[in-house]
Each structure stands twice: as structure tokens, then as C-alpha cells.
Symmetry: D2
Subunit: 343 residues, 4 copies
Amino acid sequence: MSDFAQIPMQFVGPMKVSGPVLEGDYEVPLATFETPLWPSVNRGARVSMNCAGGIKCTLVDERMTRSVLFEAPDASAALMALQSIKAGMPKLKEVVEGTSRFAKLIDLHSQIAGNLLFIRFEFTTGDASGHNMCTQASEALMNHILEYHPELQYGSISGNYCSDKKATAVNGILGRGKYVVAEIVIPGKICRRYLKTTPEKVVQLNIRKNLIGTMLAGGLRSANAHYANMLLGFYLATGQDAANIVEGSQGITTAEVRGEDLYFAVTLPNLIIGTVGNGKGLDFVLENMQRMGLADQREPGENSRRLACLCAGTVLCGELSLLAAQTNPGELMDAHRRIERGR
Amino acid sequence: MSDFAQIPMQFVGPMKVSGPVLEGDYEVPLATFETPLWPSVNRGARVSMNCAGGIKCTLVDERMTRSVLFEAPDASAALMALQSIKAGMPKLKEVVEGTSRFAKLIDLHSQIAGNLLFIRFEFTTGDASGHNMCTQASEALMNHILEYHPELQYGSISGNYCSDKKATAVNGILGRGKYVVAEIVIPGKICRRYLKTTPEKVVQLNIRKNLIGTMLAGGLRSANAHYANMLLGFYLATGQDAANIVEGSQGITTAEVRGEDLYFAVTLPNLIIGTVGNGKGLDFVLENMQRMGLADQREPGENSRRLACLCAGTVLCGELSLLAAQTNPGELMDAHRRIERGR
Amino acid sequence: MSDFAQIPMQFVGPMKVSGPVLEGDYEVPLATFETPLWPSVNRGARVSMNCAGGIKCTLVDERMTRSVLFEAPDASAALMALQSIKAGMPKLKEVVEGTSRFAKLIDLHSQIAGNLLFIRFEFTTGDASGHNMCTQASEALMNHILEYHPELQYGSISGNYCSDKKATAVNGILGRGKYVVAEIVIPGKICRRYLKTTPEKVVQLNIRKNLIGTMLAGGLRSANAHYANMLLGFYLATGQDAANIVEGSQGITTAEVRGEDLYFAVTLPNLIIGTVGNGKGLDFVLENMQRMGLADQREPGENSRRLACLCAGTVLCGELSLLAAQTNPGELMDAHRRIERGR
Amino acid sequence: MSDFAQIPMQFVGPMKVSGPVLEGDYEVPLATFETPLWPSVNRGARVSMNCAGGIKCTLVDERMTRSVLFEAPDASAALMALQSIKAGMPKLKEVVEGTSRFAKLIDLHSQIAGNLLFIRFEFTTGDASGHNMCTQASEALMNHILEYHPELQYGSISGNYCSDKKATAVNGILGRGKYVVAEIVIPGKICRRYLKTTPEKVVQLNIRKNLIGTMLAGGLRSANAHYANMLLGFYLATGQDAANIVEGSQGITTAEVRGEDLYFAVTLPNLIIGTVGNGKGLDFVLENMQRMGLADQREPGENSRRLACLCAGTVLCGELSLLAAQTNPGELMDAHRRIERGR
């Protein structure tokens, strides 16, 4: 027996996006059981249409990772093996290129704890988010390393230093997925008209809730209101492995008053996202990609970078809208009640 | 325009479940783009069918939370207000009961940072996961408190000390959602036959990967291999707000060799899950609930507790299966390749 | 052979302190190898002398903790034992009172992971910081519990859920040590005259460095510039177990512009500090306590609360001074160079 | 007025140390108010004298860091500046060499959050722990960068991404201070004779307390029992900036049963330690250094690496001894009581 879960889906927007990666007005799809998300993101999108330049998206970095685990006789043997592995980087790159047309090894990082050696391989993976490509490449790398280092034993093909779908700090610090910043400068009067709030109120709430509140909660690199909601909706609608919202949600909202305007930014260092791979062949996903102009042939990686920017823009719209709502006592529940009643 | 994202869905199992909350053999639905998850969970389920008692599920706690934020003139005023609010707990409970038939205020915790006062209200919410119920109750509580404490100002209806869909420590420590432990004792020969591994290997991998590896990654209460995958699949198939896998994935796998057997447990302190509310009225969700026997009328909260136990059992099956696979070099990729080729 | 390490020590201040716990102008001792700390804290103290009310200190909470660890047959047995232990709270309190004149059991919290049961006992301990008192009381509690619960096994007298001298979230959330907030309102012109900066600059730096910078670093409840420096100096000069600066340093600085003034606060939820116990009998400690007026007989706990407030005030002075310096390019190094040259 | 705090100090040991950095039997000084630490570390040292090879110390890495903060107009400008700064690495190295004979720039890492650019400079600093050297070098680097990048503004000479004396993840992941692993293999009968315990018990306790217990506490890279105690004692006795125990205590204990033996290791990735600089000129520090053979002229960095290894060995002794004690109900308090009574 095989079937489908039907998740309510809608396009929201258009939102205005600019930057070196892509430029234009875009509608984006969101699939979610929590349908009040649609009008909320829509409100942010409307704001973007009324701001010069709209949402500016900057891609800071991209890489996908897998950490393998070796057992050495002791720390000293682990260290010597590590040094020799690093020295053989060119050969490792070749090994990886033998496993896929798209995977390229770009860096590695390591940890030694007692006699355990964790190596975190970092790859670019073309338009794929790259989970399987990295596992396959890492398997080849492990085999290669084990062959030349008989003093090492297989520990695990994944040592949790990757770190996949877990709340950790390593991804934000060393990078995993696309690192995107989306920013907007909103004139005070647009803020008041569309968001029913002021730049000052948004800035103050961001400090108190997203920065101080998260810090008090023992939060880990998660200074935001609800990135996870937009990420889930966007991921499901575009065929992504949505369990990666765990690390994807670890991002930081910043806001400042600039004269009469509100500067507002979302920083998403761990957007694991692609336009090819599992889930991308489903009809509704293909249609959604087409509607966003991402089904065209482009240089490898180009489509997924555009998708990442659209995702970050969507996160900005939803984050802005919720924060604006929470500056006003009662607005949040009123909106929910209105929407529920309307059903 | 409105539509549906179609996520591939399958029932896996049956798995054998026991414990005070529910007992029996259950099939459970998983919706995911990552379809190798199905045979993986299935393998764990098959193990459970061959162990006396199967998977034992224990519900340790349940509560849903929302933290509000007040601004006081200074810390001393915040403290005095807090003490008076705590003293008025019986009245607060009444206020909450006026907002819903099901919401009950059971506790509150707080933080004072400078002149800011964060209060985390904790509720039971019947069979609903309770996001909206708690927001509505918290709004009423805020209004009530602001009326009696003119020295306090509205800060935010959510102060991120809740903490919803963010990687934080507070939920694990103070509780949010259902707190479920699922355990199994697997005879060594079942381990070898179905999982192609030994108790010793699973225990060692759990220590090195889930405990040490996560610790090195700067992980926060997330000593597991991939809870997020099973949670996502189960949540989507049962109409849950799947963005709650962010905190849901913060759980801990423990394993010990007991004589010839493997003791294996997953501890999930933050399962946000319900059988009523948004998403639960969709046809496929209703059918899935029925097939799991959760559409029957029971005492409020009873169905959602059963659902939580089935969810934890499912997480155990998938976690066990992946760890077993990772004890064997090459098995993980072989399985993926076999499944992809089979398509 | 026994001897003494000689740590350079100086009194700084006076600083002006107010609040329900103590009121007046106080000099405080700091012992440190990093002697530029003295003029830095002194500068903050001078500011306090020029602000109405000086530094307002509020004691939010106090408790000392020890977590014990039991092994149960399974999670269900652990839960039942826990429920029975909680139900026997009055008897547990008696057990504790039998171990010390000062220790009182005020609360307990727990965690169940698989078949492991962690119980975190929380005590008040009079004027002692209370490490040994809590260990002794916990030992008696364990013996008592093991006697009535033959299904439980001794796991450890300390299960790291306490959490002593480790970077964790539990202490900030559940409390450990004195929870003190120290606040000051500084007129803009005092800010400019003594700190060579403006309220706006301090507020901006606090947001960017202490909140955003720490968040990016994967920081855990540690939004400050250098609490650890002042804590170390104060702890060594007053005979404290200075290894508790590990959790003591996990505090949060908040700042806001209020009209022309700077509101500045340090929140220290985990000040482990006492006026009796190990180290307090040394001559220089006694002298220092006397000079701060803390050698007088008072109600149990009263002297240690005063000491905690003075400590928090000292932290505020040093934190304010360093942040002010860092708003100005070059000032930090200039100060260091001037001081080093002066030696 | 200037004076000295007198901290009780004693040499403990000898312990046997081996490895590429240093080899021999060493006594080490510990200054602490908590004098039961001495016999505890002594017991571990005695064990090392009875194990072939004693404690094996491996230096994995060394670097000291300072992160500066720039403000850019937007994320895109921050990224372009960053790329240009990285491209100018050779020039940056020259700038650093102009500030000190010993400081060398070896790497840099960065974070962009909105329009903020954090750059973490990483240096070697000879035999100094290097706080001031790095601040001075970073100041020169900032001036240099600001000169060539008029689009950037000074943010802060320290942006908390360093991260100095705060509980963060960045130091463990990117490195700060000496990264040392100390290991020992203890025959079962030595374990029983000197530690009154078995390899199995120590391994089990380490898993349950240091790994699982810390994880439950929301701990950050801090899987140990009490590194902070040994670090404090060692740092005070050798003139270190002891506030660095905050990050120094973030290390991981690992243990495994190997046949009849216990493999036991402490991994300390953030030992900030030196043999020159503030505090090192005091008489008692000089004497202590001499007694450990670290006052001799050696290649720059060589003495501080030896000191780091001795420090790690000391941590191992104390960690081993306390864990052994905690495997036995009652032993911990008995030891304390015996010592207190003996005073």
C-alpha cells in the first residue's frame, strides 16, 4: 500500500526580491496545516512590494557535510593519521570526484576526543541538497583512508559531528547548507500602514523576545520568532527533506532603526535545499518549481541558489509579519480567530 | 487558489507496543519524501514483534506552554509583581478555565532579566497539542495581570521562553508536550538475525556517535541519530504541526548490554502532538487515526496520549534500525542504492 | 609542604549600592593577576557614586542544588518511584534537617532518561554557599530513598544534573546559587564625563556584542562581556570556591536608552557565594569581610545575601566600564599600555 | 593600598607523564580553598606511577583568538569586504608581525549576521597565553582593514565571537588555547587497589553522569565531573588568568573497558595557558615553574606546551579520582569528613 498525505498548499506573494543571485517579483508556495501562515507571509510580501529594492538576498556560503568516525589506538595515533589525511587532500578530492559528477570536496574539519577521530567532510553538491551524495562520497573516503591507515578502525559513516537534523552549534559555525542573509529597509510609513506598528517597536521586540528571550531559554543560535514555520511550508511545497528545518531554524533576526526607517534582516546559515533529488520529481513540486522559474536549465548550483534566496525571502516575510503582530496586544489572537471563523 | 502538496505516505509495521497507556500490535503511517525511511522503520517494527512485551512506552509528563513578556520599571518591581501573580494562582486558573473547556493552568515558571519579566504558563490541553488554546489562555492571563498590575507594561504575548519551534534547553528541563520513554529489550540472537549486529556494537556506537559526537558538535539535549526523520513522517501523516519537530528532535537514546540482551531506549521529552485541532479534520488524517484506533471517543487526553506512545514507538524503530545499520561499514549506502534501484 | 599562592589584591570603590538587601557606599576587594581590572571596576564604581540611588540590587531567588542518580529496572519503575518520592516530600525534609542546622530542602526536579532517574534536590543553606551541606543532605536522602525503594540502585551521588562548575542551561532555568539583578540609571552627562561614551553607543554595543555575538558563538545564557573576571577577583578575595565562576559567568547584560539616560543592568542567576565555610577562616578573608561589614552576627543567610549583592554590584561596575571602553576604538589597548608602562 | 590574597597551595604527585611533548615524573602545584582536592589528585597521580607509560599527553592544536566586529551597509557589502580581507591574508600577517615578536596570524573565521561582520583572528603567541598580544594585533588589523575599507565602520575590538571566558561552542569547534588529550591505561588490579573500583564501574558512571547527565542538564561540550576544580588550582599556582577556566572546563572525559584494563582519557580543547606574561613574574610562580622544569630557556612555545600537558595530566588525575569515588556510595562524604576532621 502506498498513498499520499495531502498538505494544504497555497502560493503567497508576490514578494519583491533583489541581489546578485536573483531579481524580480516572485510568488512562493507554502504547504502547511497551519493556514494562518499564508496571510501572515502575504502581509510581509506586500510590504516588500512597497520598499525600494524589496528584499535583498545575499548568499554568503554553501556546502554540505558528513562526518565520519574512526577509532585509533590513542590520541597520538589519531593526530598523526589526521595530519597525513590532511596532507593527502588532493587525492581525497579525486576520490570524491570518482563518486559523482557534482560532488566536490572543499574542506574538512576534525575533532579528536580520547582515541576517537571525527572528520567532517565538506562538499559542494550542485543543485542537490546533497545528503546521499555526501554519504556516498564519505563512504568512498572512509574506504580510501582505512586502506592507507591500517591503524584506524571503522567507527561510523556518520559520527553526529555533521550534524544532520539535530540542534547543534557546529553547523552555524562551520557551515552546512546555504548561508543566506535576507534584508529589507522599510520606510516608517509603510511600517505603520501595512504592519500597524513602528520601527522602534519592532526593534525593541526583537531584542527582548528573539535575543534576550531565546538566551534565557538556553537557546542555541536561534534568535528568531518562527523561522521553522516558513521553512516547513516552503520545504514541503518544494520537495525538500523537511526534517532539515531542525538546523534550518537556527538563524538570527536583526533589526535596527535607521532614521525614519526599519532595517530588518533574517540570517539563515543552514538552509539545506535543492532543486534536484528525492521528492523533486513529484508533479506538484515540478509545477511549483516552474512557477518560480526554477525548472530552466542553468549552471549547476544556480537553480538551488535561487531557491535558497526565495526561501530566505519567505522567511523574512513571515518573521516580519509575526513580530509586527506581537508588538500589538491582542492582534495575534484576533487574526487567528478571524481566519478560523472564516473557514 | 488552494491546493495540496502530496507527500508519499505508507503504513509501516506492525510493531508491538505495551505499557500503561496502550497495548497491542499497531501499524503506523509515515509521510515523507525520503522513502527509504519506510523499510528502515519496518525493520525495527519487526524486531519489536519478536521481543517479549515489544516496545514498552511510559508517559512521564504532559503540558503545553506559552511564555508572556512584561516590562516592569525595574527588577524589584518585576519581582514583587511576580510574587503577587504567583500568590493569585487560583484566580489565574479560573481565568484560564473561562477561555476553553479543556485548557487548565497547572504551573508557571519565570525569568527576570533586568526589568523584564518572562512568565511561562504551563497548561494541560486535553487531546489538542494546544498551541492556540495556550495563546488564547495566555492572552486572557495577560489582560488579567495587566489590569491588576498597572506598573507592568505589555511586552509580548510570546517571549521565546515558551519555547516554540526553537532549539533551546528550557523545554527539556521544564517540559513541553508529551514526555515519553519507549524501551525494548532485544535478545542477542534477534539482534543478530534482524539487525545484523550485536548488542555490544549498538551500545558502543550509541556512546560514540549519539553521546560523544553530539557533545563535540555543541549539541543541545540531542543525543540521537535521526529522531527528526520519524517525527516528520509521523507528524505529517497525522495532521500535526510538523514544525514542532525542532524541539521534538531534542531527545536522548540510551542503550546498555544486559547479559546476552540489548536494552535500547528513546527518551522524547517534547512530543507536541494531538488528535484534535488544525489538520485533524482532513480525510487522510481521519482515516489514519481510525486505523490506529484513535478515532474512538475516550476521556479527554486519552487519545493523544496513545498517539504520543505510538509516535515514540515509531521513533524507537527507526532509531534502532539506523544505528544497527551504521555499526556495519557499507550497509547504509547499500540499502539506499537497493531501494533507489528498485524504483 | 604547604604554602600559599599570593594573588595581588586591592580594594576598589567605593560604589553606591541600594535595595532591600543593603544600602550604602562600599569598597570591595578584588584579587587577580590581571590588575588592569582594578581601575576598570573603579571607573564603574565612580559612576555609581554620581547616580541617584547608585546600583540597585535585587535578590530574586536563592537555592543550592545536588542531583543524585538512581538506576531503575525501566522507565515505568523510575516514574513510579519518582511519584512516590515526591509524595513523601515532608519526610524528605525531615531527613535533611537531621543532617544540618542550616540545610532545608525546598524543592526537587527530575529527569528520566530510559531507566535512569536523576533527582535534583534544591536546598537553602544559610550563610554557606552549601556544596558540602548539600552533598551530605543528598547522601542522607539517597540512603533514605534506597531503603524504601529496593527496586532502585545507587547510580551516583552526583549525576551532573546539579550542575556544578559546568556550562549548562539547567542552573539558569531552575536556579542555583543567588539570583541577583543589579541595575543603574546613568544620566547622559555622567556617561560622557566618566565613561567617555553615550547611552546610545553602550546600548548598541550590548546588542551587537553581548547578545548577537554570543548567539553566533553558540553561547549558552552568557550574554555579557566579562563577568568571569570580576567574579574571579571577588571570589578569590572573599574565600569562595572560585571554580563556580563557570556557572556564575552565565549571566545577561541588558541596556536601554531612557530619554537622556542609560539604563544598564546585569542579571546573575547563579552566584554561588557564602560568608561561612571553606576558605572563610583565612585571615585576609576575615579582614575583607569585616571591611565590607559582613562579619557581624545577623540572621542566617543575611550576610551571604549582602555579599551576593556586593558581588553583583562589582560585576556591574566592571561590565559597564569595559563596554564603555569598547565603544571607543583604541581605548582598550591604550588603557592596558598605560597601566603596563606605569608598573 | 595593595596586598595579596593567600590561597592555600601544595604540590601533589609525582605523576608519570609521557608523550612527544614531555616525559618524566612530575610534581605539580595546586592553589585552592578546597583542600580535599589535594589528596584526590594525589590518588590519581599515584595510579599513574603504577601504569606503564603513565599519562600520555598529546597536543592536538594551539592558537589564541580575538574576534573583531565591523558594521557594513548591508550583508552584501560585508561579504565583499570579507572576501577582500581574506584575499589580503599575506598583508594581514605582516601587520601582525609588526605588533609583536611572537604573535603570528595563522587563520581567520567569520560570521555575517545582517549587516554585521564578525572576524575571528587566530594567532600563535609563543609562550604567552596571549590575551594582550592578540588584542594588540587585532587592533592593528582593524586599523589596517578600516583604512582600506571605508565602507566598514568600527563595531568593537571584541565581538564575543572570540570567545573569552564565556560558555560557548565556538572555542571547542574552531580552537582556542592548547588542545590537549591526556590518556591512561590502568590495569584492573591497579584500579581496584588504588581506586577501590573496577574498570566497568568507572566506564558506566562516565556514560551516565558525564555524558547523559550533562546532556540532560543542557550542557555545552562539558562532559566531565569537575575539570574546573583542577584547572582553577593549577592556574592560580602558575600565574594564569584563571577566569579562563570558563572555557577550559568545557572538555570531555571518555572511558572504555579494554580487556582487564580501564582506558581513561580527558580531552581539553581550550587550555589557555602560558609561561610568560601577567602573573608569571611573581616569586611563587617562578618557583613553581622552576620546580616543574619550566624556567629553562627553550624554543618559544615549548615551555607553555609542557605546562599545558602537565595541566592536562593533573586534570586527568583529579577526574579519575572523583569518578572512582562516586562509583562507591558514601565514599565521597567519608573522604570529606575525614579531611575536615583532620584539620
